[in-house]
């Protein structure tokens, strides 16, 4: 039987506020354990939470960018469960009245547009971090992360392949980066993703048995885990087996998912309204005011790049996939008018180096002026395209301006016809035999002569000029 895949994703995003969601403790990453805690986030009796205004504004920004409707009255609820990562034994979250709902993100599937519906975006607080010392019968808790402001972004089960899930995440992350509300760093856990996946016979409308996947720490990990899981579910059904609703953990090293021990009882969080927080009413004017602060988002930017700079769909898509890259491109185009050349170099050599060094565009030690300066040197034939590649790599590596590198290394290309002419004459004299070979019809000898000229000039002669002068000298 042929099966189709149904995937829904749940993303947790840490908001980049200075302080936690409900208290004034710092959200800084990687600090001394339990040094960013207070009576509120430790759940001491008598302490009261109060909502971080900036976190709320960030949340509405995200909701609007994801085309969500904003709840007229926002309330918080307590999600009760006993686990030591929560000192209060409940997490402040949102249950029946999430901050926002009914949004969407569009992705491209086989050249067509596919709409992934966003079911809800709600606010909650993060839990503390547990460590399990090996070989010991206890766990250690650091509550620095406890109470940090999180957004939970939940889609409808609208994705029908691991690839679509990957594309949705990439698009979502791009939007979130444009909004500058989070550093979106998966390694630091600022952005986390869980996936729900099931399969069903093609054409069936009822959903199959759902498996929740956890523990993926990259978008590729999400895609790989989903690919593995789809195959696993398929083979279970093909063998006449039955799938169980469960949570499975992705093991990136082994490339498999394993069943997480499940409790006999279904989850029962006994949600109820958080009595320590009064309701929040978001006025229409306030929503519109925040909407006006939204930056130009990837789709709009891509459309503008296409119209203004004549870029292809593909180029515009790649260049706007990261806000830093898009900004860099625009800076460059201001300094150097040939947008297509800028795009090619950026998407080629520059991105390759950035990816290879595993850094962000923002960390690239090459100012747009320096980069476009390099392009100008190619145009004026001061250096060849091949030299430019080497200079670019070195400029990124050493943080030295391309012009300076060219000068220091004496890399400038020799385009001066007179200078090349004399080298050519010298070579022709020395290689008299090759010249006569050439004249008697051995055409390959020409390339050898070009090579000799390049060697004499240490590769600095402009090849086009060398060709021209050689041909003339050989009487063609």
């Amino acid at each position: 039987m042929r099966y189709e895949t149904v995937i829904g994703l749940e993303v947790h995003l840490q908001l980049a506020t200075k302080t936690k969601a409900f208290c004034g403790c710092s959200t800084k990453f990687g600090q001394r354990p339990n040094s960013q805690v207070c009576p509120v986030c430790l759940g001491f009796p008598g302490s009261l939470p109060s909502l971080n205004e900036e976190a709320f504004r960030f949340a509405i920004k995200v909701a609007l960018a994801l085309n969500c409707r904003i709840q007229a009255i926002v309330k918080f609820d307590r999600k009760n469960y006993y686990y030591p990562d929560l000192p209060k034994n409940f997490q402040i979250s949102q249950y029946d009245m999430p901050l926002s709902y009914n949004g969407f993100v569009d992705i491209a599937v086989d050249g067509a547009n596919k709409r992934i519906r966003v079911k809800r975006v709600h606010m909650e607080e993060d839990a503390g971090k547990l460590m399990h010392p090996e070989g010991e019968d206890y766990s250690l808790v650091d509550y620095n992360r406890g109470g940090m402001p999180l957004l939970e972004i939940v889609t409808e089960p609208d994705m029908s392949s691991p690839r679509e899930a990957y594309d949705y995440l990439t698009k979502l992350k791009a939007i979130l980066e444009y909004l500058k509300v989070s550093d979106c760093d998966m390694e630091k856990g600022s952005l986390r993703c869980d996936a729900n996946v099931s399969i069903r016979p093609e054409g069936e409308t009822k959903l199959g048995t759902k498996v929740e996947l956890k523990n993926m720490n990259s978008f590729k990990g999400v895609r790989n885990a989903l690919e593995y899981e789809v195959k696993r579910q398929d083979s279970v059904l093909e063998d006449g087996g039955k799938l169980v609703q469960e949570t499975r953990l992705w093991d990136a090293d082994k490339g498999i998912t394993t069943s997480m021990r499940t409790k006999e009882e279904a989850e029962d969080y006994r949600y109820f309204p958080e009595p320590d927080l009064v309701p929040f009413v978001v006025e229409k004017e306030e929503i519109e005011r925040i909407r006006k602060t939204l930056p130009e988002l990837p789709e709009a930017k891509a459309a503008r790049f296409k119209a203004a700079f004549g870029l292809s769909d593909y180029d515009a898509g790649v260049l706007t996939s990261q806000v830093d890259l898009a900004d860099y491109f625009e800076e460059c185009v201001k300094l150097y008018p040939n947008a297509k050349t800028v795009a090619n170099w950026l998407m080629g050599d520059v991105m390759a180096t950035v990816n290879e060094k595993n850094i962000d565009m923002s960390e690239l030690a090459l100012a747009p002026a320096a980069f476009t300066g390099l392009l100008k040197m190619i145009d004026s034939k001061a250096i060849s395209g091949k030299m430019a590649k080497e200079v670019l790599a070195e400029a990124i590596e050493t943080r030295i301006a391309p012009e300076e590198i060219v000068q220091k290394k004496g890399l400038s290309q020799i385009s001066d016809a007179g200078a090349i002419e004399s080298v050519v004459q010298g070579v022709l004299k020395k290689e008299a035999k090759t010249v006569s070979d050439y004249k008697s019809g051995k055409k390959a000898a020409f390339a050898f002569l070009v090579g000799q000229v390049m060697k004499e000039t240490k590769g600095k002669a402009n090849p086009a000029v060398v060709n021209e002068i050689l041909k003339k000298s050989l009487g063609e």
Binding site: T17, K18, T19, F22, C23, G24, C25, S26, R32, P33, N34, S35, Q36, V37, C38, P39, L42, S50, L51, N52, E53, E54, A55, F56, K75, N80, Y81, Y82, Y83, P84, D85, L130, M131, H132, E136, D137, Y138, S139, L140, V141, D142, Y143, T247, L249, M260, R261, T262, K263, E265, D268, R270, P273, P275, L277, V278, P279, F280, V281
Partner: protein, 99 residues
Amino acid sequence: MKTIDKKTVEKVAHLARLKLDDKELELYSGQLASILLYISKLNEIDTANVIPTSHALATLKNVFRKDCLKRSLTPDEALENAPSKEGDFFKVPQIIEGK
């Protein structure tokens, strides 16, 4: 009105991490049943057109805090009353994956 049975009390006790023996289960089942019966009187009121009251302070809304740093406790202060600790950490019985 359905009264609460022993099984439900057992489940609620488990969720609250309470250990109850048979005698206590019996006792609390009876007490909880009478409390629920009393509360259920509220169900007689028609609330179809009433906005849910999620908070007692009906006139209070939009209480925010500015995103400003406040002094946190030091790890020593935070751990001062912890029944068990190790270094800068709270120490708890081992947790097995899955919550």
